[in-house]
Amino acid sequence: MSENNLHNEQKLLNLLEKKFILKGGSVRRERRVEVKVEPKEIVPVLLYAKENSGYTAFTHMSCVDWIEDGEFEVVYILWHPEEKINFFVKTRVSRDNGTLPNIDFIWRQANTYEREIREMFGIQFEGLVGREEFILEDWEHMPPMRRDFDTAKFVEKTYFYRPGREDAKDVREYVQERTDEELPDFAKKYSRD
């Protein structure tokens, strides 16, 4: 891919670099631009992208738990309907008491994403209005999407296994031990090739 083809992608990055303090930014590939910012820069960057650069569509918002670094990475993904570019804004907050600015006054559907992230990871959003419970009901434990929440242990404590499930687990471990083989025998037997 030559440099000229990524002209539109580079344009936004140059504008943002002049205006804001970025922790990093790159053109990932055709139609993908990425910047990293501090949490306090989130609202200005998103507002600038929406009002001045034409990134009017809010596509996605996600959160990744980097337990090794003690941080959550929150990703905002925007979309430019004319230039057809996805724009990623990434930021990191502390795992313990991370708070982020609320952006549902910019895009109101962000409210849903923020409520889900609050419930699943425990990140607080300043001034977020909406029901506390979104998907889970009467949940009293650690937010389930945190990596230190062990779902198998939780299931063992809470629900019933049908007799025979224990064997199934053994098979998994057994198969894992034989990783040197190219393809397990039973798989070969049923393969059509």
Partner: protein, 367 residues
């Protein structure tokens, strides 16, 4: 005189609703003044389960995320893995993938025909279109071995080559369906009951649509030509000839018409793909799944499903399991914020009608 305000609950169990969710309505007389959606009745914690399964095991559960249309999930998952890993996909596999996706689109639209007309009380339509959907499912069974869940599009290509005689069978089915679509027009689109129910109901504002996050047929029903297949082409869509229908209006009627035109485009696409399909390999073999690690990185991929843009955000930490796979289905916006806004001012009787036209699918909202 102001009418007394009452609270009505529709769902979670309701025959007219497209899945298991609840809509809490504040009504005055017959008119809705406030709507609030409650979801979470179908939450399975897919994203947590994927953290525990290796890359190939995760692939087998992603298709369960959206029940009516599982293939865009497989496609997204596979493309995200391929993008992070840099794995090449053979040309033939790309064509087979497009064919599978288009067949899935037709099947979903046929099911939608049943749901949309059923919620207006026209039950014959459902008998016809859901019955005809079985022919597509027969093709899938022939191709993949499964009627509903296929687990067919996997990282590196597709799981099997086309079986013998599949091309003729598929073309025959397409011919049959094309003939049937004219019958559907007579039954549904020329039906004055449907016209009167659908016109002017559930209007989406064209100027706000993109900002509100509307995608897919509802967005094209507002007159905005937007389709991931054209905007961010994947697989071999840039080599195929098709149109993206868009119509001004933004109500249930135009959304239905857009789908009506799209199903014809899809039939055409299946024919083109079968015609142009090259020979050769259909699968770039992956290593032993238990040892298969993927370099660190992240990717966001999108697929145009029958209900709109389906996005996957995937992060790998270099291990043999995904770090995070976050699924964004079209219903995530359509079924919550958009629905809550569209319902205000509408009739109670139109709730499931509007939900069907937006393609609300609760399993993909909560995953």
């Amino acid at each position: 005189m102001r009418e007394k305000s009452t609270t009505l609950y529709i769902g979670p169990q309701h025959p007219g609703i497209t899945g298991n969710m609840m809509v809490k309505l504040q009504v005055e007389g017959d008119t809705i003044v406030k709507a609030e959606t409650h979801v979470g009745y179908l939450h399975r914690g897919f994203e947590k389960l994927m953290e525990r399964r290796n890359w190939l095991q995760s692939f087998t559960i992603v298709c369960r995320i959206c029940v009516p249309e599982p293939d865009p999930n497989e496609e997204n998952y596979s493309r995200a893995v391929e993008e992070i890993e840099g794995r090449e996909v053979p040309e033939r596999a790309k064509y087979i993938r497009v064919m599978t996706l288009e067949l899935a689109r037709i099947a979903t639209y046929l099911l939608w025909y049943g749901g949309q007309s059923g919620s207006a009380g026209l039950l014959t339509m459902g008998q016809w279109s859901v019955g005809d959907r079985n022919y597509i499912l027969d093709l899938f069974e022939d191709l993949t071995g499964g009627r509903v869940y296929h687990m067919y599009i996997w990282p590196g290509g597709v799981r099997r080559d086309l079986p013998e005689g599949f091309k003729e069978k598929a073309l025959r089915t397409m011919d049959y369906l094309e003939k049937r679509l004219d019958d559907y027009d007579k039954l549904l689109f020329e039906n004055s009951i449907f016209q009167k129910r659908a016109k002017g109901v559930g209007i989406i504002d064209k100027n706000k649509a993109i900002e509100w996050g509307v995608v897919g047929p509802p967005l094209r029903g507002c007159g905005i030509q937007s389709d991931v297949r054209k905007d961010d082409p994947y697989e071999v869509y840039d080599k195929l000839d098709f149109e993206v229908p868009a119509m001004e209006g933004g109500d249930v009627w135009t959304r239905a018409l857009v789908r009506r035109f799209e199903i014809r485009q899809s039939i055409n696409l299946v024919r083109q793909v079968l015609d142009k399909m090259p020979g050769g390999e259909y699968y770039n073999k992956i290593p032993n799944p238990h040892k298969w690690t993927i370099p660190a990185g992240d990717a966001f991929v999108k697929t145009e499903s029958a209900r709109g843009e389906f996005g996957y955000y995937m992060v790998s930490d270099g291990g043999n399991k995904p770090r995070r796979v976050h699924v964004k289905g079209p219903a995530y916006v359509h079924g919550i914020t958009l629905l809550e806004n569209l319902l205000v001012g509408e009739n109670v009787a139109d709730v499931s009608f509007i939900m069907n036209s937006l393609g609300t699918c609760p399993p993909e909202i909560e995953r």
